[in-house]
Symmetry: C2
Subunit: 393 residues, 2 copies
């Protein structure tokens, strides 16, 4: 049977160059998380549907992928990494030392209408501190995310903070309308509020709110963490629609880009233990990283070791193994019967910088030809000097 | 509503220490793959069910997780990383430069009866070379996997190789029985073969087979790649049950451990382009890595910066930020109101080696107390010397 090769709607392949960039971003993030004392945790991709349902609000609930497994259990693909963390904490409360600081990198699934640059499976990167309710814990989450951005070369960003306490007199329904501010604008929000039966003055009242004492403490701690004062501000209209936030909420914006690059907040009721956290979406984050951060990633191996003739394969493999063992990213041409010309063309097409050629004459003299494919020059060098020559290019 | 916090049967959480070990294994594997010129590719977790069905044989097909998505599409959780690669190649044939050498690390799902140490979601690590059919390409796959094992500190292993050509006169049904050799032994296989209507002599005939010319070429290339001759051998009874193999097949064993740590082979018909590959299961691989490989992973931050009193928070945060920026894994105690004693107990419980204490006297003199929590000694040192002192411990 011939099946049409295609991915499901809203799903995609991540090809080598993009995958290498994402890998670089993730390894920088992990090093920052660890330097702050956060540790990795991995929860499964599938959870009991009942663990996820009713946690994200009615709109989001509809987007959860659910199905029945063979044993008749209702399973669901995880929708985010926060609710599985809550499940993990509840399940292991007795043996965890609090505060428990963890990071998790994992794919989440949302059956949303696919849009440009938005997928139904995407990678989230979360950091959370569980088991403590202090301004310092709140500020540290912002601090670790800001350090990540700086290390990735994203120098300009703005953290907008608010406190759910600012909305304490508002029903959840009104908060969800407020959360649409970015999408439908101030006028749109006002219209929807009136339509939903709230007074027109509600928006003005929220705008006029003052910083809570807790927010003041957080702002001070952010300064102590070394954050530039211009990189964060109070935003009384920031709402974040998710049902589970109870204290500080925030989003991080990059000037000139629409939508936030990170967001999170405190959610003390989801777990039964106080908790605060934040997350990055890897797609949006990687897209925001300046090219210079990726400059030193080799997208192709540096060297192709060619095979001059089938009976000379041993010398080529020996040289290849030598380079490879020294950590020089190297390919061996895999078809000994191919003409040298074809081998060099392959290196060219892949953008490999150097070719190593070992003809009978070179092998006899313990030499190799090192060909620079970019400027089409070549030199004979002693076999023993090859890795040093390549390491210094 | 109170939901019982639990994972689905056959699923699990991977806790920090184990997650750190796995992370170390994966970063070593990635560096080896790259050094051989393999590049990362990421395919989605969900595929069209029709892409996966009929590729693994009837028994395996039953273990694929399938469900209908909202748009009525039949979706499936990936069962391995090979068939999605085949789908990717078929979908992108026109734009790929062959040979295409890729690695992929990803979770796969199999609805098997859970057993000790076996899960329904587990991480596979695959390397494949697509678009070329040579002994050198076959040998390189073995070479890269062997290099991984060596780098992980697994020094003793045996690669058993066979060629599907050895079975060319056998029906698939008989090959599947042969594949049970590890589980049910030679006698068991013989019984099942007879029961299935094959002659008793079939097993003897297979055992007497000679190396194919291709296998001889592969063995020679393995030597040239620098592999110890004692680390690989011909095994005419090695079958590997999957339907898609067409040429070389192999498994890697560690002496004294049952079951293979890696396996793979050539599958030229699955894609329509020749291909060869292999994979590790991350659980089994990580379990086989000797403890000394993990010796230098810090499972806990090295330092806890304490807070002497709420009004002295600024100095502690400054010192914390300084250490953190220098890559020293550090925690700041997150509750400024906690007594110093409680803070030190927390560090002890978490196994953190050092505590930094900044009292009013120290702050005035530009010093800190560095307390070694393992041998209960402490010293006052200049604040500027702190990171150097910690870096050399």
């Amino acid at each position: 049977v011939n099946i049409k090769p295609q991915t499901l709607k809203g799903f995609r392949d991540i090809e080598p160059e993009e995958a290498l960039k994402r890998g670089r971003v993730l390894s920088l993030l992990k090093s920052v998380f660890k330097s702050y004392g956060f540790q990795p945790l991995e929860t499964p991709t599938l959870e009991y549907a009942s663990v996820l349902e009713g946690k994200y609000g009615p709109e989001a609930d509809k987007l959860i992928y659910k199905f029945q497994d063979r044993g008749g259990r209702k399973a669901a693909l995880r929708y985010d990494l926060t609710v599985p963390l809550a499940r993990y904490i509840a399940q292991n409360k007795g043996k965890i030392t609090f505060p428990f600081k963890r990071y998790q990198i994992g794919d989440v699934f949302r059956a949303e209408k696919p849009q440009a640059g938005r997928y139904r499976e995407f990678t989230q990167v979360d950091v959370d501190t569980v088991g403590i309710d202090t301004a310092l814990a709140d500020a540290e989450i912002i601090g670790v995310l800001a350090t990540c951005l700086q290390l990735l070369g994203i120098e300009k960003f703005e953290v907008r903070l608010n406190d759910r306490a600012v909305f304490q007199d508002l029903p959840v329904r009104a908060i969800r309308i407020l959360d649409k501010l970015d999408k439908i604008g101030r006028d749109g929000v006002e219209k929807e509020l009136v339509k939903a039966g709230f007074g027109r003055e509600i928006l003005k009242k929220v705008e006029g709110q003052k910083q809570t004492p807790r927010l003041k403490e957080i702002f001070l701690a952010l300064e102590y963490f070394g954050l530039d004062k211009n990189s964060f501000r109070f935003d009384p209209l920031l709402a974040r629609g998710l049902d589970y936030y109870t204290g500080m909420i925030y989003e991080i914006f990059i000037p000139g880009e629409s939508g936030s690059i990170s967001g999170g907040g405190r959610y003390d009721k989801l777990i039964g233990v106080p908790a605060v956290g934040g997350s990055f979406g890897l797609d949006r984050l990687t897209a925001a990283v300046p090219e210079k951060t990726f400059e030193n990633i080799p997208f192709q191996p540096q060297v192709l070791v060619t095979i001059f003739a089938p009976d000379l394969i041993q010398s080529s493999l020996t040289v290849f193994s030598l380079l490879q063992a020294q950590g020089i990213e190297t390919e061996i041409y895999l078809d000994p019967a191919a003409k040298l010309d074809k081998q060099l063309k392959y290196a060219d097409r892949k953008g490999i910088s150097y070719a190593v050629i070992l003809g009978p004459q070179e092998i006899k003299e313990g030499e190799v030809i090192l060909r620079d494919l970019r400027n089409r020059t070549q030199q004979s060098i002693d076999m023993k000097m090859l890795s040093r020559a390549l390491a210094t290019t």
